[in-house]
């Protein structure tokens, strides 16, 4: 963390006035742990201590009455409401919008050299991009190739079948999977279905997509 002498001074000053960490937090944008660290040496007067204790008790009472589960439930309801409201902001994609969304995803996930390649582990995203390649870029389905990155202890056949069903690319168009040798055990989040790379061997198409991205970027 960078030293923040100004913030430190302000925080200590506020603490001396008897404010709680949360109250300080509302005035100074630093983390709570920084506040706690800076205020370690600050002594409070008995009156200040009493005020904070009473405040703490009131909060505790609220949690006891409501229960932590109730608070979590309330938040869940809030999130649900946000999601439903947000859905109304986006309508289903028109053909031209479909083109833009795919181009942006290509910017994020696609290869910038060689042919057209998309690498990802999210089945929804891969499904979307295969449809985009076929419908927007007019890629011939029989020219789409797939390749998996999996770990040594995973079942190649089963995972190929899984991705073949998602992408509608026949298993015969899957290349040899890249099998990552067993590592040092540091990596813990091994993906169940590995990573898939979809390839359409057309350098011309890649130049076309990259131009779309350039135009979209420049429109800002």
């Amino acid at each position: 963390m960078k030293p923040k002498p100004n913030e430190k001074r302000i925080v200590q000053c506020l603490r001396k006035q008897g404010l709680s960490y949360n109250e300080i937090l509302q005035k100074v944008p630093v983390t709570k742990s920084s506040i706690s660290f800076w205020c370690q040496g600050v002594e409070l007067t008995p009156e200040q201590k009493e005020r904070l204790n009473k405040k703490r008790e009131r909060n505790l009472q609220r949690i006891i009455i409501l229960g932590p589960k109730a608070i979590a439930k309330k938040r869940k309801k809030e999130i649900h409401k946000i999601k439903i409201e947000a859905k109304k902001e986006i309508h289903s994609l028109a053909p031209y919008e479909f083109k833009i969304v795919g181009a942006m995803l290509y910017w994020a996930e696609g290869s910038k050299s060689g042919g057209v390649e998309i690498t990802n582990s999210d089945p929804k995203l891969i499904k979307f991009m295969v449809r985009w390649l076929k419908q927007v870029c007019e890629a011939q389905p029989e020219r789409l190739k797939a390749r998996l990155n999996i770990h040594a202890n995973q079942n190649d056949k089963k995972i190929k079948k899984y991705w073949s069903e998602i992408t509608n690319i026949p298993i015969s168009q899957f290349g040899k999977s890249y099998i990552k040798p067993e590592g040092t055990g540091h990596r813990k989040n091994i993906l169940d279905n590995g990573v898939i790379r979809i390839r359409f061997g057309s350098e011309d198409l890649r130049h076309r997509i990259m131009t779309w991205i350039k135009v979209l970027y420049q429109s800002l």
Partner: protein
């Protein structure tokens, strides 16, 4: 075994001395196409070309002509593609940014995204500010750099790109240089930036927009 970037540095050194790919290949055991990718920007001097005999010079000439022809073709493709897309409307910017977030953004913990492409990062910043109406003070940045890079300089660079003030840059995460199979050149590679937005509700909103994409 040697790291790939070490092989690459060796190959480039030998090419600068005027070696032919077939000769380099004996010392650096990679495919010729890989060699040509690594060394394509190195122009041999006429003396170096001559030392390989007349047929070699002709072959180089032919390759250059092919290259020029292809460059013209690419320009034609790009011109045509430019007419297939137009400037973004506000609504299109909204879905475009959401698509980028689908690709690069954090889906589980907090609202954040990471990338090393300054144009893409600029695009996302614009999207956060214009579409999502995120105030600048709600944004934090983290850099991921290699040990050989100058942290202060890189923070200044990314601060200029993103317009995020330097005091909103949090602790930089360093990685030992050359420990991976790739090694990046100092001037081209500016590290990776993670932009964090302190707004959990917005994350749920964005993820909900992304879900809508699957119903087309």
């Amino acid at each position: 075994m040697k790291k790939l970037w070490q092989l690459r540095e060796n190959a480039i050194k030998l090419r600068r001395l005027g070696w032919a790919y077939s000769e380099i290949q004996k010392k650096v055991p990679v495919h010729k196409i890989t060699l040509s990718k690594w060394c394509r920007d190195i122009e041999l001097t006429s003396r170096q070309i001559k030392s390989h005999g007349g047929r070699y010079a002709n072959r180089l000439k032919g390759a250059k002509a092919n290259c020029l022809k292809r460059q013209k073709e690419i320009i034609r493709i790009q011109k045509k593609a430019e007419n297939e897309i137009h400037i973004l409307t506000p609504y299109e910017l909204k879905i475009a940014g959401a698509a980028l977030y689908w690709g690069e953004g954090n889906k589980s913990h907090g609202l954040a995204f990471s990338n090393s492409d300054p144009e893409l990062v600029k695009f996302m910043m614009k999207w956060f500010q214009e579409t999502c109406e995120v105030p600048n003070k709600k944004i934090r940045a983290y850099l991921y750099l290699h040990t050989g890079q100058n942290e202060k300089k890189m923070q200044k660079y990314w601060s200029r790109v993103t317009n995020i003030p330097l005091n909103q840059f949090n602790k930089t995460i360093l990685k030992k240089e050359g420990s991976a199979s790739r090694k990046y050149s100092q001037d081209k590679y500016k590290g990776t930036i993670k932009i964090q937005v302190l707004n959990e509700n917005l994350k749920h909103r964005i993820l909900s927009w992304i879900e809508q994409f699957n119903f087309t």
